[in-house]
Amino acid sequence: MKEVITNTPPQNWYLVLSTLLFSIGVMGVLLRRNAIIILMCIELMLNSVNLLLVSFSAYAGNTDGQVFVFFIMVVAAAEVAVGLALLVSIYRNLGSTDIDVLSKLKG
């Protein structure tokens, strides 16, 4: 089972890729008003982190990173659950998922 992949791209490429994905996620959060899409963008950000961790883990031969990714997935799931619950609750009250509507509290 050893040496399955002998020739992999340099690790920096993964770094750049994850950063790019992360930035796209951030951009999405900033760009969109629909809460559910923002939620997805955040998921995207988390995934970029996952990718980064996995790459670090693989290149360093350190399993810890992959275990951490596992925890991130768990948390992401929980977050999504709660987030969607909140969203549903809001939608019931406001009939909208536009976050710009959520600006009663200010000042």
Partner: protein
Amino acid sequence: MTSDIVFFLLAAVSVFTALMVVFSKSPIYSVMWLIACFFSIAGHYVMLNAQFLAIVHIIVYAGAIMVLMLFTVMLLNLNKESEPHKSIFTKATAVITGGMLFLVLLAAMRSTQLGAYEAPVTTDVGFVQKVGMKLFTDYMLPFEMTSVLFIAAMIGSVVLAKKERNL
């Protein structure tokens, strides 16, 4: 070299789908693009020899989270072009900000010497046994504590989603 080509292919797919998630008009398309994105990321995992995570990733993200999202989108009937547009100015700011963040991050990571990581040393780090061993020995406590997290999230979701006003 093949792996490089595969990497670039996958990377291109990832970035493209990610961009599509952001720029899709309809939420439902966003969801779909995101699922595609997740699959491409799973591909990266496989390339990095993290089979276990690749599987879990598909199951959790594509199978659970995204389905949940899709379900919500449908439930709330958000599948329409309901989103009022942000002004061009805001949009431009958002894009520029995202780009700048990318640049700043790159700048911050410039001249990164990850010398030790030129190539994976051991390649079985991502295998199920390894991850499993780690998870249930070293990471036993976090693993257990996730149960607390989950219960909290579960109760929370239940509480928030209950429809009736009073018991």
